[in-house]
């Protein structure tokens, strides 16, 4: 088995000394909900259009395979289950209208699993692309970008089907009118870690990490609607410390308990507080630094700070036009410290504990340090690296050239239109992609790697097993989910439980069996032997 990054097998001659693997050891993935619109169409039915867009991925008729019985987003990590998830008032009205639609639930969702192990479906109002599980940051970046390409291709196909208008897809998190949609990260972590310690670490880390991983936004869309530039698209939407909800009274720490693994051993940390990033560098740094912070939480090793009000800190940092990013920490007196110091404290601990562990960890440590240094000195040195800085630089240049004023509502709309176009995934139209084509954005993966990731699953994880199973024996798959595949043959069902496929050795054995097997029968027989092997 090969490491996708260094191309060496563990222990092979020439492999990096003392580093068996280049990639990190934790499973992680990214789910992105895309904004959808059609030029020249005043009122787009986003539910219908999201469904149609997903269906443009495939050639033949849609066959619903996703098994919803294994999903329960109402279960809370703290040991209880809520009756209902909360929706905002606006959404409640929409949902009542949706109930009158004649489209069956499974048809509406149009849930697809792609050969690269990802899930591509209509999350009711948005096309959503969820990468397969990765352990390599750089593979994750390729898989995330593959999602953008797939969404873009579907938009082109959908445009060709329409009588008028162009379908445009945006990898952003807001419509500037108070509606927000997510880019969620998932990290598998140790169940035995006390939830209080998880809270302690994340309530310090999440509000402050936006100084490098915010996507940037023109304007404030809630409360005072101030005409300012914010670091983050999502920061102003968070209202509580912890809860299982994701659409209303959003929490800094989401407590959804769906491990998709052995629940006695693992939690899946479902992170809803981040923005969708166009920058490859920031996607890797966001996930990499968060993974290291989870390592620190598991090790019981955290900076000696506590934010007095994490929600206020999040909003204040996003809105701070001075970029001092001062936050109030607990303790005697009124103590304000820069958010950069808190990130620095996390970095120092991560360096002390994990430096030299593997090459991707070292990359994260180095990138984190470099970004912190530049944020401290002059954030604008991160044009081409950080999304919020790059977007701000674009908007400022445009305002100066066109003599636009932040307090003029028409000018503000034009700025917001530029903000939106930064995240347009059409590589011929999007402003991010214009910068990238000019060589101005730092990249971590090549176009060929992104193209490959559109059909190739991440190596060494169960995403490979899921994607390849579907590719080889898809005709026999009767249902599928993140952690289970059911094959049907001659009237008999064979369920393969993938909950245990988070253990590296087991994954290797399963994937080898899959690669070797010519027929479904030999495949299931060999899997059975693997399971019975001591």
């Amino acid at each position: 088995m090969w490491c996708a990054q260094c191309r060496f097998a563990p222990g092979e001659s020439g492999a990096p000394q003392g580093m068996a693997w280049c990639d990190m050891t934790r499973l992680f993935g990214i789910e992105t909900e895309y904004g959808i619109t059609i030029d020249e169409v005043d009122k787009v039915d986003v539910v219908e259009e999201s469904m149609q867009l997903i269906r443009c991925y495939q050639q033949g008729a849609f066959v619903p395979l996703w098994d919803y019985r294994l999903e329960n987003p109402r279960r809370d990590e703290r040991g209880f289950e809520v009756k209902n998830l909360l929706n905002d008032a606006d959404e409640k009205v929409h949902l009542q209208q949706d109930r009158k639609r004649k489209i069956p639930f499974k048809e509406l969702k149009s849930d697809l699993i792609i050969y690269n192990g990802s899930r591509f479906y209509n999350d009711h109002t948005h096309p959503e692309y969820s990468t397969g599980e990765c352990t390599s940051l750089f593979e994750l970046v390729a898989q995330d970008k593959a999602g953008e390409r797939i969404v873009d291709i579907c938009a082109q196909r959908r445009t060709e089907m329409l009588d008028q208008g162009v379908v445009r897809m945006y990898k952003n998190n807001t419509d500037f009118e108070g509606h927000s949609y997510g880019c969620h990260e998932n990290y598998l972590m140790d169940r035995s870690v006390p939830f209080e310690r998880i809270l302690q670490g994340l309530l310090l880390f999440f509000p402050t990490r936006q100084i490098f991983c915010g996507a940037g936004k023109v304007g404030v869309e809630r409360e005072d609607r101030a005409p300012i530039y914010q670091l983050s698209q999502r920061a102003e939407f968070f209202e509580v410390i912890a809860s299982v909800d994701t659409m209303h009274k959003r929490p800094v720490v989401n407590t959804r308990d769906e491990p998709h693994a052995d629940a006695a051993q693992y939690r899946r940390l479902h992170v809803i507080v981040g923005d969708a990033n166009m920058s490859e560098y920031i996607t890797a740094l966001k996930v990499g630094s968060t993974a290291l912070v989870i390592d620190l939480i598991e090790a019981g090793c955290l900076p000696d700070y506590q934010l007095k009000d994490p929600i206020a800190a999040m909003k204040n940092i996003a809105r701070d036009q001075s970029y001092a990013w001062l936050v109030e920490v607990e303790g005697p007196g009124h103590r304000l410290i820069p958010a950069v110091e808190i990130q620095d404290a996390f970095l120092a601990l991560a360096r002390r504990e994990f430096a030299g562990r593997d090459r991707e960890t070292d990359w994260v440590l180095s990138a984190w340090e470099d970004v912190i240094e530049k944020l401290r000195r002059d954030p604008m040195d991160l044009v081409g690296v950080c999304d919020w800085v790059t977007k701000k630089w674009l908007i400022d240049s445009f305002c100066e050239a066109e003599d636009l004023a932040w307090d003029n509502p028409d000018d503000l709309f034009w700025m917001q239109s530029q903000d939106l176009e930064y995240s347009n995934v059409d590589r011929d139209a999007g402003l991010y992609y214009l910068l990238e084509s000019q060589g101005q954005m730092v990249r971590l993966v090549g176009d060929d790697e992104v193209a490959a990731a559109m059909s190739e699953p991440p190596s060494g994880t169960r995403a490979y097993f899921r994607g390849r199973s579907l590719e080889k024996f898809g005709d026999y798959v009767s249902s599928i989910n993140w952690d289970r595949i059911v094959f049907k043959r001659n009237g008999r069902q064979h369920a393969v439980d993938m909950k245990l496929l988070v253990d590296e050795e087991r994954v290797v054995r399963y994937n080898e069996v899959l690669d070797r097997s010519e027929t479904l029968e030999s495949f299931l027989e060999a899997l059975d032997k693997v399971e019975r092997r001591p």
Partner: protein, 63 residues
């Protein structure tokens, strides 16, 4: 140097294991050094963006 020439540079993917763009040559991981781009092409493109695109862009709350 004519600033337009800066646009001739092509994006290069970083080898995650080796020196990257702007690397100081110590064999460590990539340290990005990105010059601030010339704005002429960008501004030309940005002027073509519909000023009302954001005004018309209406979504529903997602998860």
């Amino acid at each position: 140097m004519d600033k337009v020439l800066q646009f001739e540079r092509r994006t290069k993917p970083v080898d995650p294991g080796g020196p990257g763009p702007g690397d100081d040559g110590d064999g460590g991981p990539a340290r990005p050094k990105v010059e601030r781009p010339d704005t002429r092409d960008l501004l030309r493109r940005m002027r073509r963006v519909d000023p009302n695109q954001a005004r018309r862009y209406r979504q529903r709350t997602g998860e």
